[in-house]
């Protein structure tokens, strides 16, 4: 480390610190953008976007670690933070959030199965009652998504 005192090296330390700061900011920015624009269909329907952002953040942290000549801990903390988000995010999107295929009773051109269910005030609602009156959009949902 003979050149540690040279201005050239100081600049290198600075740029790696900047990368170490940028890395978690990119990762946190991706989370914030996903939550903020959750109701925008393009954002919600491309959850792999946050995984890509975590990968970019991890890449920046790797760059920071390899370029650091002085204090190494900011770069390592950035790598740990972004790396864990990358692993967690990839697992969530590509494993946990997957919904296995099922044989549905839905066939275009065929009548949907009838049902009667209570509404929010407890009154029974029967699908067949709309027949001849109104088109119906049925949305099966769960939780916040």
């Amino acid at each position: 480390m003979a050149g540690r005192q040279s201005p050239w090296h100081n600049q290198r330390v600075e740029s790696s610190t900047r990368l170490a700061i940028l890395s978690p900011l990119v990762a946190l920015g991706a989370i914030a953008a996903y939550v903020l624009f959750f109701r925008v269909a393009v954002v919600r329907n491309h959850p792999e976007g946050y995984v890509v952002a975590f990968a970019v953040a991890t890449g920046l942290a790797v760059l920071a670690v390899t370029r650091t000549r002085g204090r190494r801990w900011p770069a390592w903390i950035a790598l740990g933070f972004s790396g864990l988000l990358l692993i967690g995010g990839a697992w969530f999107n590509f494993v946990a959030a997957q919904v296995p295929d099922t044989a549905t009773a839905l066939h275009v051109g065929e009548r949907a199965p009838d049902f009667t269910l209570p509404d929010a005030s407890g009154r029974p609602v029967t699908l067949a009652d709309y027949r001849g009156k109104k088109p119906v959009v049925i949305v099966f949902y769960r939780g916040y998504w």
Binding site: V99, T102, P118, D119, V125, P135, V139
Partner: protein
């Protein structure tokens, strides 16, 4: 819920009168109904507490819930006036839902 808010925001007043949007979930729906009324969305929230209807439609995600319980596969179905399926979409990733524009296109094509 977020999906329903997106869909409601895109439905014109005329279409809201002409189309019934029925939201089926095993979740307690009093809160959902309040939210929908607050947003002036003309939805009916139906309680499928024991998943009977989800099962009838073949839309069960076995042990997919946070506590390992069965939950419905997220799905959107467009029926015409005669109750015939004209369009549907079933999710393979629970974060992903049909684009409200696609649903509206199917509704307008009726």
């Amino acid at each position: 819920m977020a999906e329903l808010q997106g869909l409601g925001a895109q439905l014109s007043e005329a279409e809201k009168v002409g189309v019934e949007i029925v939201a089926i979930s095993p979740d307690p729906n009093e809160q959902s109904q309040k939210v929908a009324e607050g947003l002036r969305l003309g939805y009916r929230f139906l309680a499928d507490t024991d998943l009977t209807v989800a099962r009838r439609y073949g839309l069960i995600h076995a042990r997919g819930g946070p506590d390992g319980q069965d939950v419905p596969r997220p799905a959107t179905v467009v029926l015409d006036k005669d109750g015939v399926v004209r369009w549907f979409s079933v999710s393979h990733n629970f974060q992903v839902r049909p684009d409200p524009n696609d649903v509206l296109r199917a509704v307008r094509a009726l």
